[in-house]
């Protein structure tokens, strides 16, 4: 069994290592510190943080409602909410355009309100949130179901109002899942490409995130693309590792 696990791990690690061997180390620094690369990296970090925040704000209530209430059509809503996981991102971008674009469902309304989403950094954040939200909802809802409602019930009999129960019992209990869900969301937002391209466009410093920059560099300079990929990879690893460091495993484990 350990052998199979090792094969599985190798299957993932080997390509990553292979890619690292492709990096043109001599010019690495020059490649990754070019103006366009830095702009893309900074934009990516900024938008991913915003998208993660949005995921937490929207996703925590969604997970709570899905895990703690029952309503008609819940299973359908749950499935639909998870769909962006499945959708090829480009399709996600088309869908976002159909909803929030100038000629989309809400386009006219937004225009009247003076809100222009297309070609703005907001669009990037929305695209990233759209694809990353299911990650947060999924991890959190699972954790909430597994944690069960027994501790919450005890807290209620001790006189805690629902908001107190949420703040002092529910959230602390699922904190590891919330954190790992947020990390996943951040990571997914950081790697988001197709929906951003379709929905937000690609302008340096405004909408061209790191994955888009990588794609562009690939056209003319595959070395630069590989180098940038490595940067993206290292940033992701750093975020994932740092966050997991602070999580000591599931709370209450024996």
């Amino acid at each position: 069994m350990v052998a199979v696990a090792a094969v599985g791990a190798l299957f993932v690690l080997l390509p990553l290592a292979a890619m690292a061997t492709r990096v043109d180390w001599a010019n690495f620094l020059a490649l990754v510190t070019s103006e366009s690369s830095v702009a893309a990296l900074l934009l990516s970090l900024r938008t991913s943080v915003a998208a993660t925040a949005l995921c937490v704000v929207l996703g925590v209530p969604m997970a709570l409602v899905l895990a703690r209430t029952t309503f008609w059509g819940q299973r359908l809503v749950r499935t639909l909410v998870l769909l962006p996981l499945v959708l090829p991102p480009v399709i996600g971008g088309i869908a976002l355009l159909a909803a929030f674009g100038r000629q989309g469902l809400l386009g006219h309304t937004l225009e009247l309100l003076g809100i222009r989403i297309a070609f703005s950094t907001t669009a990037v954040v929305l695209a990233q949130t759209f694809v990353a939200l299911p990650f947060l909802v999924l991890s959190l809802e699972g954790a909430l179901r597994v944690a069960g409602t027994r501790y919450e019930a005890v807290a209620a009999t001790l006189g805690a109002r629902p908001t107190t129960v949420l703040r002092r019992i529910t959230l602390p209990l699922v904190l590891p899942a919330l954190l790992s869900g947020a990390v996943l969301s951040f990571a997914r937002a950081l790697g988001e490409f197709g929906a951003t391209l379709t929905f937000a466009g690609s302008l340096q410093g405004v909408t061209r995130t790191l994955p888009l920059e990588i794609y562009l560099q690939r056209e003319t300079d595959p070395n630069a693309a590989v180098a940038l990929s490595l940067v993206l990879l290292v940033v992701s690893v750093a975020v994932v590792a740092l966050t997991l460091r602070t999580v000591p495993g599931p709370a209450g484990a024996p």
Partner: protein, 238 residues
Amino acid sequence: PAVTGTSTNTSPPLSGSITVFAAASLTGTFTELAKRFEAKHPGTTVNLSFAGSSELVTQLTAGAPADVFASADARNMARLTAAGLVDGEPVDFATNTLEIVVPPANPASIATLADLARPGVKTVICQAKVPCGSATVAVEKAAGVTITPVSEELSVTDVLGKVTSGEADAGLVYVTDVKGAGARVKGIPFSESGTAVNTYPIAALTASARPAVSAAFVRFVVGAIGRSVLAAAGFGAP
């Protein structure tokens, strides 16, 4: 190009399947051409793989098994030639020029290339590093216009997509793209387009297991039927 008539009579009948890697902008025409080729040479099969030209070159240099490569620009064909994968000389079989594309209603009232640079007009173009982007730079230079786009897309399809979805007021794409999009957009030709003519080369590949079929397909594309199909899609003659 004048030998098409005789070769079919003298050679033994062609058979077997080949794989053709073609630029994404050739999806419609090459699907049609493959069908016609198969009809003309029963016993042959043409498998098609479409993607961006540079994507295809990456795949080919990584060992993708293919017999024929049709590129949307000379630069990518040159990359492949440099890698030693091209059998003989590539042949140019089509050209393409830029055209302004606007939504059918033309909300920003675009008439000339200079209108694209008007403040308040949402224009999308290709980024300079991709083929349509270098053509855009060329026409801008020729017309003395500096466009400030709201987005520099990574492919011409994305430019077209922004216009068809109505997000952008105008874009610069190839004539063939405008034609392919039919009534969903309106094309506006402009005089400076001639300064950036994009050429499409095609070549058989060294790795081909069926050189005869590959060569026949190249000839077919370059030949009369190929010409007419390509012309119908808006491609110019080389």
